[in-house]
């Protein structure tokens, strides 16, 4: 919940409402991407990938490192950062989760592994790069005014890129061979293995895709934000909440969940001071858990 994205509260008025709605769509788009990136992994592997934020922070720091030390143009550096995010995600799966699975660990055991990684990596980054803000690129996006509503070209780029990515993931899961293999593993891991699909390779695939999306989210944030070692804490929580709001395991649901969460958070600015807006996300989660525990689009477990 970055205060810079959320407009300060003024008198409640229709203009304000429109501005907050537009801000909410931009915010919700980011949230949707986060939620989808988590759900791609969770829905297929059943792993509560608590170390998901690692991809976000690694993408940012590797991109900055590539730009600073190799002198790469920022777009190339961003690509390097995103590749690093995918690599670290796959590394966590292959190097940490897979051995745990082989050893017959419980879900709690795998979660503890994730917890350990999620605390070690940002602190390692702090030791290596220091605790202070790092900037990646100084973009100066143009401001667009439509009546009283303003937004930037960067906002548009964020919205377009995120939804294109989400659509591409949904398409790939439904229409490609790998997508069908993923669906098979999701439905019945053993059965999928029996018909010649290697579940471990599918795991690598979804960790790669999910971490790539998370890395892209990290880079998109960096385009007008600063990197800090703890930068992933808040987006990670948002990813979890969006995923659960939408309904566990539903990728489209996670996208809608994220969008709804962004809109609600932003529109709450009509009544709530920005300091208290984090409470809105929590309240949304709490209320939904009470009234509709399977999520907005989830199926009730048998």
């Amino acid at each position: 919940m970055d205060a810079t994205i959320i407009s300060p509260v003024a008198a409640a008025s229709f203009e304000l409402f429109r501005q907050l709605a537009v801000d909410g769509v931009v915010l919700g788009t980011v949230y949707a991407l986060l939620g989808v990136s988590f759900t791609v992994i969770y829905s297929t592997t059943g792993i509560f990938h608590f170390a998901h934020g690692v991809a976000y922070v690694v993408a940012a720091y590797v991109a900055i490192l590539a730009a600073d030390t190799l002198g790469l143009p920022w777009i190339a550096a961003a690509v390097v950062g995103i590749a690093a995010a995918a690599a670290i995600g796959i590394l966590v799966e292959v190097g940490a989760y897979r051995p745990m699975r082989r050893a017959g660990a419980t879900a709690l055991g795998v979660f503890i592994t994730a917890l350990g990684i999620s605390i070690a990596v940002p602190n390692l980054i702090q030791i290596l790069f220091g605790p202070n803000n790092k900037t990646f690129v100084e973009l100066s996006p143009a401001t667009i005014e439509l009546g009283t509503v303003t937004f930037t070209t960067l906002d548009i780029a964020r919205v377009v890129i995120s939804w294109v990515l989400i659509a591409a993931v949904l398409f790939a899961l439904r229409r490609t061979k790998w997508g069908l293999a993923t669906a098979a593993v999701r439905m019945n891991r053993n059965m999928a293995a029996a018909v010649g699909i290697d579940p471990d390779r599918v795991h690598v695939l979804v960790f790669g895709v999910g971490s790539t999306l998370m890395g892209i989210a990290g880079i998109l944030f960096l385009l007008n934000g600063n990197a800090t070692p703890t930068m992933a804490a808040s987006p990670m929580l948002i990813a979890f909440i969006a995923a659960f709001l939408g309904g566990i395991g539903s990728i489209g649901g996670a996208a809608v969940g994220g969008l709804a969460l962004g809109l609600v958070t932003s529109l709450s600015g009509l009544w709530v001071a920005s300091d208290y807006q984090p409470v809105i996300a929590f309240a949304a989660l709490f209320v939904l858990l009470v009234i509709r525990p399977q999520g907005m689009f989830g199926r009730r477990a048998a």
Partner: protein, 618 residues
């Protein structure tokens, strides 16, 4: 000196936090990401209550935040701090713990931790915001002040000992056993007639209350509180202490707290400004390595030195009964009815058949069916698993559900005990409609089931497994445990005796003290039957009691099931072995593809050619 005393005091706080979280994580198997928040809730509550009442001088001196508090003494402030943390935790956990998925609690506590910590920093008028609350007056007792590290250590040490003793007492009580059961097999706990939601809520609130107590002391010790102390990192540090030390083992938690608590001052010497980051890197990696290579922690459950102090122990009652005879009639003792439980819901239950005395055959005279099943149906997506099935169970008889794989036999058990909700149909037990009741209430009404795969509490001993099924064990209720400890102890002793008798009935008394995971599969099946017997239910649903049992032991199981009927129990079996059914069942109900095809004695059923063709394949 003060430097080292301060480190020691910090370790004491970590021990209090670790011990309370271990109660939740180790015993109940539920993970909370918000333990630091409850610590903070206690600290802020006590801080606000004990801050001196604002005067104009103070208000003028304090440029920001909270100028004054309620000016209370530390004593009542401690109590309120515990209460507030407890209540906040209950409200938080209510929606999550009444659901099945463990992820909900993780997510909700994580969100709560993050949001509450942000609020501590932003709600200036209540918490003092980033500036925090100060100066909180340090508590004093026996001439020692909590404000001086060395003196504080001697004040906090007994507090820590009390906290550890309370956690240990609860963990090793019948309530703690119930929590372990929940950790191992929640469904099985319901199946033996115990509520699962209330104990989880209680332990969650309790762990938070203890954290709140520690937080209140923490506020008084530092005389200053700020949001940074109670962040997610601390929550994870406490989790690391519990995991690294060993779950459901407080000795391990103490060792873990000392290890990780002394890490930071050492790192301060070595790494300077990066000490906190290095500490996090180290315990993060330790978590990954420990859970991979030593999943039960440095000091695994059950190896504690404190075990020596455990009252009663497990073995003595068993010593004389090691004849190992599987012939049931030879060892079958009597299981007397328990006296009615005060206050428990047995009052609402219908009267059961008269006192069950297992050694003598019971002549059942009541001809009305004990269980009436009408028009039961269940559809799973495209599959009609159970299709309009009706049947009765006759009192004191063994009825078997027969049919090929996929006939819907186990599904019927799941529908009868409401593990799965039927689409249509009613189930009437002793004349009472039990269709809508939850699984544990159905067991309380007198019908319990076993599971094909046993579903025992693997890391508990055989006798503990069976004790968990004994109804009316007062010590499983924490309120009674606190108010009437001697009564609870006596009841738990009775429960142990009953459990040993039930184990004796199935010929497993000699293995009473063995951890179930170490038993052979056949022996586990017998323990499962003993557990079922201990529920004191009249109607017992046995799901494939002989599957996976080696042929030599099958006769023993048959004897046991026959013994159940002779003791007046109504038994319903799902069984594949025609031999077993022929030996045992008074009646059979033939099912295929979810429908009831025929009903009668086994001879009648097997005399019908089309049935044998379905069963054995044409």
């Amino acid at each position: 000196m003060d430097y080292y005393a301060d480190i020691a005091v910090q370790i004491l706080f970590l021990i209090m936090l670790g011990a309370s979280l271990n109660l939740l994580m180790g015993y109940a198997g539920e993970l909370s990401m918000a333990h630091a928040t409850f610590y903070g809730v206690g600290a802020y509550t006590a801080g606000l209550l004990t801050l001196p009442v604002a005067t104009e001088a103070i208000a003028a001196a304090s440029s920001r935040g909270v100028a004054g508090g309620a000016g209370w003494d530390i004593g009542p402030a401690l109590l309120v701090a515990i209460g507030v943390s407890f209540v906040v935790a209950l409200l938080l956990a209510l929606p999550a713990l009444s659901r099945v998925r463990g992820e909900y609690l993780v997510l909700l506590t994580l969100a709560f931790q993050t949001v509450a910590n942000q609020l501590m920093g932003s709600a200036d008028s209540v918490t003092g915001g980033a500036y925090g609350l100060t100066p909180i007056p340090p508590a004093e007792l026996f001439g020692l002040s909590l404000g001086m590290p060395t003196q504080a250590f001697w004040l906090l040490l007994p507090c820590t000992v009390i906290v550890v003793a309370v956690c240990f007492g609860i963990g090793e009580s019948p309530f703690g056993r119930l929590l372990k059961g929940l950790r191992e097999q929640e469904l099985a706990v319901k199946a033996v007639g115990k509520d699962t939601v209330v104990p989880k809520l209680v332990v969650f609130g309790l762990a938070a209350g203890i954290a709140g107590f520690a937080g209140a002391l923490n506020a008084s010790y530092y005389q200053f509180i700020a949001p940074g102390t109670y962040d997610l990192n601390l929550s994870i540090l406490v989790i690391a202490i519990v995991i690294i030390g060993g779950v459901s083992n407080l000795t391990g938690t103490i060792i873990g707290a000392i290890l990780l608590g002394s890490l930071r001052p050492i790192l301060q010497e070595v790494a300077g400004d990066n000490a906190i980051a290095w500490q996090a890197v180290i315990y993060g990696l330790l978590l990954v390595l420990i859970i991979r290579f030593r999943p039960f922690g440095l000091v695994p459950e059950g190896t504690s030195m404190l075990r020596l102090f455990r009252r009663g122990g497990l073995e003595p009652a068993v010593a004389g009964a090691s004849s190992g005879v599987k012939s049931v009639t030879a060892v079958a003792p009597s299981i007397p009815e328990l006296p009615p439980t005060p206050g428990a819901s047995t009052a609402a239950a219908p009267p059961r058949t008269d006192a069950v005395v297992l050694s003598e055959p019971v002549v059942v005279t009541d001809p009305s069916p004990v269980l009436e099943v009408r028009n039961l149906s269940k559809r799973f997506r495209g599959l009609q698993a159970v299709d309009d099935v009706s049947f009765d169970l006759e009192r004191g008889k063994i009825t078997s559900l027969i049919g090929p794989n996929g006939a819907g036999k186990t599904t019927i058990f799941n529908l009868l005990t409401h593990v799965i909700t039927p689409d249509t149909g009613t189930v009437t037990l002793n004349g009472e409609d039990i269709s809508g009741l939850s699984p544990h209430r159905i067991a309380k009404r007198g019908m319990a089931r076993s599971f094909q795969d046993g579903r025992l509490f693997e890391r508990l001993t055989a006798v503990e497994n069976v004790m968990l099924a004994v109804p009316g064990n007062s010590g499983e209720n924490l309120a009674l445990l606190a108010t009437r400890p001697m009564h609870c102890r006596a009841r738990d002793h009775e429960a142990r005796e009953l459990a040993l008798e039930a184990l004796g009935f199935v010929g497993m008394r000699a293995q009473a003290g063995t951890v179930v995971a170490d038993l052979s599969f056949g022996d586990q099946k017998l323990v499962a039957i003993a557990r079922l017997l201990a529920t004191e239910c009249d109607v017992l649903l046995l799901d494939e009691p002989t599957s996976g049992v080696d042929p030599g032991a099958v006769e023993g199981v048959i004897e046991v099931v026959r013994g159940l009927r002779d003791a007046g129990k109504t038994v319903c079996l799902v069984e594949h072995s025609v031999h077993m059914v022929g030996q045992l069942a008074d009646r059979g109900i033939f099912l295929d593809q979810g429908r009831k095809l025929a009903e009668g004695t086994l001879e009648e059923l097997m005399g019908q050619k089309h049935l044998t063709e379905i069963y054995f394949g044409a």
